[in-house]
């Protein structure tokens, strides 16, 4: 009961403040967000905006790409933007770090949620305190964040499914591999992939293999699954890390001509396997663009601009165009 009345009171104060201060209406209708007075004052005085980008696991393969995007945004826009987040995907650690940031005072938060349910309340709390929040990489739709920068995961799954089906000529037996079949991103991509593969009556999905995240485990799981299903024609990997493992398995067992692989992301090992035609295609989601774009959106909010979701797309790389990426990334360095 006490909490209820408190919530009412906070809501009332919120309404009062909303009347006094200019409101920024986000891309989503019916959601109003009010920038905190302290932040407005700081920006008005021309102080450097402080942006924190919280990625759900700063120790994974993907984090260096995300970090690069943040650093680039910090230089390009002249803001204080840094990457934060837990070492090892851990919702509790991510939440408590964000809580401390809210207390310390930041001008904007970009968040990639390790778990949608666990992060939604803290995002709402930040927004209630007048700190703008956008999500990137992994969305959190139930949190009423201002906007999302990243790949449409279901759509990217569809793209992957269709690619594999076309590579297989519309028929064959397929296994799907994922680091964690129960994770939201995996569920979304698998849904899209199964939808796309389902359009082809002669394609049979044998099983979804959860590989775990430890490299030896990933390889061993794929090996065991291939032993259990000796007639596999295609492997659809849903993420960065079982893609190269599947490629290595196929290459080492002389199956490169028989088993087609479609996967995700551009780890160094994956690039080599695409160049060698072992992995037929891989889908990039532009991780650097995700964190860069998130910082950019937050700065727009601080300037009072309206913002919208940004789709960083699903760029397909095969042996034909992977060279372009390699050249481009070398030039960047």
């Amino acid at each position: 009961m006490i909490t209820h009345s408190l919530q009412h009171r906070t809501a009332l104060i919120g309404l009062m403040l909303a009347g006094l201060l200019p409101a920024i209406v986000s891309a989503e209708e019916n959601t109003s967000f009010t920038l905190a007075k302290t932040i407005q004052d700081r920006i008005a005085k021309g102080e450097k905006p402080i942006i924190r980008v919280s990625y759900h696991d700063v120790s994974n393969e993907f984090a260096p790409f995300i970090k690069k995007g943040v650093e680039k945004a910090a230089t390009d826009f002249g803001v204080d933007a840094t990457l934060v987040g837990p070492v090892g995907a851990d919702a509790e650690k991510q939440v408590s770090e964000i809580e401390s940031l809210i207390e310390k005072g930041v001008d904007g938060l970009a968040i990639s949620s390790v778990s949608t349910d666990a992060l939604a309340p803290v995002i709402q709390r930040a927004m209630a305190r007048g700190i703008p929040v956008v999500t990137f990489n992994t969305d959190n739709p139930s949190s009423k964040r201002l906007a999302f920068v990243g790949q449409n995961l279901v759509e990217s799954g569809r793209v992957a499914g269709k690619l594999l089906a076309d590579t297989l000529g519309g028929k064959g037996s397929v296994i799907i591999t994922t680091l964690d079949a129960a994770a939201q991103w995996s569920i979304d991509r698998e849904k899209g992939a199964r939808e796309a593969l389902g359009q082809y009556p002669d394609i049979k999905i044998l099983t979804t293999v959860t590989t775990g995240t430890e490299p030896q485990q990933i390889y061993g799981s794929i090996e065991n699954a291939m032993q259990a299903h000796p007639n596999v024609d295609g492997i659809l990997s849903l993420e960065c890390c079982s893609t190269p493992a599947a490629g290595q398995y196929v290459q080492r067992n002389g199956l490169a001509d028989k088993v087609k692989i479609v996967g995700f992301d551009l780890l160094p090992e994956t690039i080599k396997l695409v160049q060698g035609n072992v992995v037929a295609a891989t889908i990039d989601q532009g991780p650097e663009k995700q964190s860069y774009g998130a910082v950019q959106l937050l700065l727009d909010v601080l300037k009072g601009k309206k913002i919208q979701d940004v789709d960083t797309g699903a760029v397909v790389y095969t042996s034909k165009n992977i060279g372009d990426y390699v050249v481009a990334s070398k030039e960047q360095k």
């Binding site: 393969e61 065991n224 032993q227 493992a245 160094p268």
Partner: protein, 342 residues
Amino acid sequence: MTLQTLSKNANPATDLKARIGSIIAARETGVLLALLVICVFLTFATSSFLTVRNLLNVGRQISLLGIMAIGMTFVLVSREVDLSVGSTYAISGLVTGMLIVRGSALIPALGAGLLLGMLIGSMNGVLSTYGRLPSFIATLGMLSVVRGAALLITDGQPVTVDTTRGGRSEVVNQFYQLGQGQLFGMIPMLLVCFLIVAAISWLVLAKTTFGFRVYAVGGSEKAARLSGIQVFQTKILTFALMGLLSAIAGILSLAFLPSGQAGRTGVGLELDVIAAAIVGGASLSGGEGTILGTIFGTLIIGILRNGLVLLSISPFWQTTAIGLVIICAVGIDKWTGLRRSQ
């Protein structure tokens, strides 16, 4: 082993030896029996279990776990535990990999990784003896310290061993051979390394003075001290050995895959390693465990994992099943009274 039993016996060394022998014999037979039951079941339940190819796959899959579980056996027998092995495994492999990528020759790169593993192990040992910390705490701390160090030196970037950034092609190829090569064109090198480590370790633990001291220290520190055994040195040596074996496994892992990442490589491995040794008969209360038992324990975990996939059982059940095996393996022992209550 208590002080009272000791005072009744004029020669604590013979007494220790006799007791250890009888406990071990019973336990190993039980584990082997369980292993055979699982194998027979899988042979009839699946068409692909009992094939040379699958068995060699399983052999390779358990090799790294087995090498580390052997090290853990030494540590557990000495009545300590090492939780930092997954991190040591990661950093040793990554350091070796980074040196090769930067153009180092093979031997110095391997040496650096192995030495680092031994150093971390020794540090665990010193903290748990002279530092007077329980090894559970000391190595829990080191788990984090070493994992963080691995992230720092790699800056979170994956380490891929190849020639694109200055690695010498002959060195890279030799390194690949170490992990991906096959003896007689079929036996995976990882399995060969495991068997070599197992043979040497069996000799050391069962037949040498050092091995005897490890049992004595774990059976009763006081008795061991009274028999003139240098307890701290013995323990530090077992930790150093554990570190060395973790490093060997970590380096072989990178040679096999050839890409590692400080945030994921070997994360959570300590639990599998401890489980393998425990299922094989080692005890957290020290003084018990053998290399042969640990090999059986590792095989049970590896074959179970392989078998559950061949049977197309959900991965969530696989996790549950392995947990149940750990409980049953130790439980059956206690419930049937094969082991004396402690």
